[in-house]
């Protein structure tokens, strides 16, 4: 059986036995070549499930709309880290989620009505090809690369502060504040986002360089030590802002300071949600 058939078969079983009310997976999009999320509520709907290298979405965010209901979900390894993030932050309950993990060969570059054979750059840097949490595994786990690599971040760090400022100013000036990055992010689930608070007013409503910069950098800080690297923010950005680069820089900082990668397990306390009296991290002491 190929991954699509394996996922469809298992999802159908889960729906038939009423182990889950809904199964969240992928189906073909209307362009006939890329993928889109599928919510199967009845066993026969599971026949439409697919899995291939165009399944770029992280579906875990949707679990927040199904709180308290038994839900099945298909996850790639990066997406599976989001489940651990939501578990450790007490947003979902393990008993309510049936996880089909898929060993991931890396996703390919896709856009509307276009697919390619070219594996995404971000996937080439991936360290996690087997899901970190699952109830049912599709695919054969292989060996993982040994060391974290951040060649993209290193390139950014090699720039002078003035050049870095210019780089981000240029990109943020294009932002239209559609909040697609936030809406798609499994780590962005606040009932009221700081950007929409009126009192205190953190960021004004202007869609203009200064407010755009404030919005994007504050969001990045809220994700430091929490971003699980699924690249959704960058995937959905309608004006191609390299948001993953910003998040990966902060991920690298968290790794270097705390030896911590978000979502690898659901037990290790998150650095910014933990206070250890004796902790020395080499800054500010």
């Amino acid at each position: 059986m190929n991954p699509s058939e394996e996922i469809a078969k298992k999802a159908k079983e889960l729906l038939q036995s009423k182990a889950v009310e809904c199964f969240i997976g992928y189906q073909r999009a209307t362009d006939g070549m890329t993928a889109r999320p599928l919510f199967a509520h009845a066993p026969e709907e599971a026949d439409r499930l697919i899995f291939d290298q165009t399944c770029t979405h992280n579906l875990v965010k949707y679990l927040l709309n199904h709180k308290g209901k038994a839900t099945g979900i298909a996850v790639k390894p990066c997406d599976s880290r989001a489940i651990n993030l939501l578990l450790i932050e007490h947003q979902i309950e393990r008993k309510n989620v049936f996880i089909i993990g898929v060993v991931c060969p890396g996703m390919v570059e896709t856009s509307w009505n276009k697919t390619s054979e070219k594996v995404k750059d971000i996937c080439k840097l991936c360290q996690q090809h087997t899901p970190v949490i699952y109830d049912f595994l599709v695919g054969e786990p292989g060996p993982e690369p040994q060391a974290e690599a951040y060649p993209d971040v290193a390139k950014l760090e090699a720039l002078s502060p003035a050049e870095r400022r210019e780089f981000w100013e240029k990109h943020f000036s294009r932002c239209i504040r559609c909040y697609a990055c936030r809406q798609v992010c499994p780590g962005c689930y606040c009932g009221e986002c700081f950007v929409e608070r009126l009192d205190p007013l953190w960021v004004g409503i202007r869609i203009a360089p200064s407010e755009n910069e404030m919005w994007n950098s504050m969001r990045a800080f809220h994700l430091s030590g929490r971003c699980i690297g699924c690249n959704q923010c960058e995937r959905v950005c309608p004006v191609n802002i390299p948001l993953s680069l910003l998040n990966r820089k902060l991920e690298k900082e968290a790794l270097e300071l705390f030896k911590f990668r978000a979502g690898i397990d659901a037990e290790t306390p998150a650095p910014f949600a933990t206070f250890k009296k004796d902790e020395k991290i080499g800054i500010g002491e």
Binding site: T30, P37, F39, H171, I207, P238, N240
Partner: protein, 332 residues
Amino acid sequence: MSQFISKKGLLSWLDKLAENHSLVAPTRVEGSILFRKIDSTEDIVFNFSNTNLSPKEFFLPPSETIFSVEKKDGQMNLIPEVIEGQTVIFGLRPCDAKGLATLDLPYLEEPGDALYSQHRNKTTLVGLSCLSACPECFCTSMGTGPDDPSNLDIILTEVEDGYIVQILNEKGKALLPEELLVMKDVATPPAPFVSPVPSRGITDKMRQAFDNPYWSRLADRCIHCNICSYICPTCYCFDVRDYTNKGRIDRVRSWESCQSPGFTKIAGGYDPRPDKGPRLRQRFAHKLIYFPEIFGTMHCTGCGRCVKTCPVNIDIREIIQDIQKLRSGKNA
């Protein structure tokens, strides 16, 4: 015989225009094609299907000060915003011109929106016919077409070595002097075939489907970002805030979207539209029911941007097809 301008002639005309106009044209910006004010015709992209964002941003900018109030010598003075200078938008597609004509209906209806009217009056539209149809567009089902000259001031159609020129009104005539044109025996290329959607009768069908569970099921997938509204050539909602600074108040409006979770939240925190289904339905009900019932035309031009850009493939063409197939009634 058609009026014709060579490619070289076009470029030198545009260069000349840029001297005393703000010249806006499609240009390449970090992997996107966007309308931007350009300094040199070298930056214009001619070979493009359509821009990622619509030209709406030059008439209803993402953010704009509506007016200011200043305290001076014990007096409060109201300072209206004045739009300076003339703008030419080059290279917009007929669907986007139809988008502006659609925006005109709510924005120019008396009393017209002061800022929008100024932008509109001070801008001349030089369109480019589409020689091929994008896979996502359906303009011919929404009252326009790939070579529709209405709603433009000048339309150009690319042929070998240059463009067939149609000057469509006085504004166009004033911009492009006739002496720059020659009469040439050149055939107008046929308009490309655009895949239709079954839009006939959709307003009634939408009304019948208002309470259908279809919307909640569809909204399962929607992430409620504002992409569709912001890239849409006809969506026009905005939010207003006052910016205060040392005795001066700027009243600012910025794009806002019915898809945004807080859009309908009112004083006290009450939200009359808290659920995902009705929220998603609002966008399509506005486009296919409310706007046509009030203004007599669809609130969609078939440009296909939302189809192409939606991160989760909420596809208005598919929705129109699905709604047409639904039987009426609550649980149909």
